[in-house]
């Protein structure tokens, strides 16, 4: 036993084994706009999202898809179906980190979003992540939510009818329709309709592609 508390503390400190620096994760997260909790009233958000689920599990805050299937119904609205998924309102960076760890594909997070964009909701499953952002700018007030679906590349984006008995998250209204999609690495990125300008959309696309190349 050492006779000096100060030396013992330093010794104890030196004995702590340090894991490798997660540089890619840090770089990735640092290039990401804002993870802060939204100060916007939830009522407006809920009204704008127009999201409903066929099962009340969502209302419990922890619903349910596993092996998600991303598809579009006849109206062009996106729908996700599966067995297990976790929905979080105003997610923290920890929530996002957990979702990324649990994803069965290398997640490339959205990048190049307009400055001041805030993540306001996260639906996370093993094969797909749905992120919803509150976009900045007073001119967008009527429609300020942007939905981005990140899914496994192998997941087809088609108009197949979800399997019976599966939980389904379906979006209605204009914000539930696909605006653009592309592939980065092993991930399919689907951008839903929003007030993003073409320049902003192109910036997101190029930033995500550049980010996936860095990874």
């Amino acid at each position: 036993m050492q006779s000096d508390f100060s030396v013992a503390c330093k010794h104890a400190r030196d004995l702590i084994s340090v894991p490798a620096v997660p540089l890619a994760t840090i770089r990735n997260a640092a290039s990401y706009p804002t993870f802060g909790r939204s100060t916007r009233p939830g009522k407006g958000l809920v009204a704008a999202l127009l999201v409903f689920c066929s099962i009340a599990a969502i209302a419990a805050g922890a619903a349910v898809w596993k092996g998600q299937h991303v598809s579009f119904d006849r109206s062009g609205a996106i729908q996700l179906s599966g067995d297990q998924m976790v929905w979080t309102k105003n997610p923290s960076i920890d929530d996002l980190r957990i979702a990324i760890r649990q994803a069965h594909f290398p997640v490339v997070l959205p990048a190049g979003l307009p400055m001041g964009s805030t993540l306001v909701a996260l639906s996370a499953g093993s094969d797909a992540l749905l992120l919803r952002y509150d976009l900045p700018g007073a001119w967008r007030r009527a429609d300020h939510i942007l939905g981005i679906v990140l899914s496994k590349q192998m997941l087809s984006i088609d108009s197949a009818t979800p399997e019976r008995g599966k939980y389904v998250l379906r979006f209605v209204g204009p914000t539930g329709r696909e605006r653009d999609h592309w592939i980065v690495g092993n991930e399919t990125v689907t951008i839903l309709q929003s007030t993003l300008t073409p320049v902003e959309l192109a910036h997101i696309k190029s930033a995500m592609i550049a980010q996936s190349q860095r990874q």
Partner: protein
């Protein structure tokens, strides 16, 4: 002294080059992790807190006004992130349970056990003083409290730890005397 980061590296990172920032992150990562680990007492949380601090560093290094302030600035971020995480994870394991499982570190077990009996605000002060070698003034900057309060907290912590640390009297007592001397302005 912890965080032995070359000033040129901090200067270069402040200039905004991503490569330099990443070099800086790599340089400070071990210290950030160790400090977070000492505060939180568990591996996963420490990694998360250190990672969070490095993300803030990555984003905000350009806003740092003076490279000389880097050390205290970064310590402050790490301590804040670790404390926030600890607050959020009220169900986390106590330090003694987590660290006493490290069988290879028999010599340090008493230190961790001693720290585990302290409340968070005292533990932070002790960790910064004895693990990181910060002065009372620097600890005050890091924690955002007056340095007189730091000395007061250190005195209370030492009083609580003394019965547990009978094996460490000489310099521990010496340090206490030094702090007392500083406190009365001698």
């Amino acid at each position: 002294m912890a965080i032995p980061v070359p000033m040129e590296l901090v200067e270069a990172a402040r200039a905004g080059g991503p490569l330099q920032i990443e070099q800086l992150v790599e340089a400070v990562w071990p210290d950030a992790y160790r400090l977070a680990r000492a505060i939180l007492g568990e591996r996963q949380g420490a990694e998360d807190a250190a990672q969070e601090a490095c993300i803030i560093l990555y984003r905000s290094i350009a806003t740092l006004r003076s490279s000389a302030a880097f050390r205290v600035w970064f310590y402050r971020i790490v301590v804040r992130e670790a404390s926030d995480l600890k607050r959020r994870r009220s169900q986390s394991e106590p330090i003694s349970e987590t660290l006493s499982s490290r069988t290879e570190q028999t010599e340090s077990i008493d230190v961790w056990r001693a720290l585990s009996v302290l409340p968070q605000h005292l533990r932070d002060v002790v960790v910064l003083r004895y693990f990181e070698d910060l002065s009372s003034r620097e600890i005050g900057f890091v924690l955002g409290i007056p340095d007189a309060t730091v000395r007061f907290h250190l005195a209370i912590a030492r009083r609580r730890l003394r019965p547990l640390l009978d094996d460490y009297p000489p310099q521990f007592t010496h340090a206490a005397n030094e702090e007392r001397t500083n406190a009365i302005g001698l």
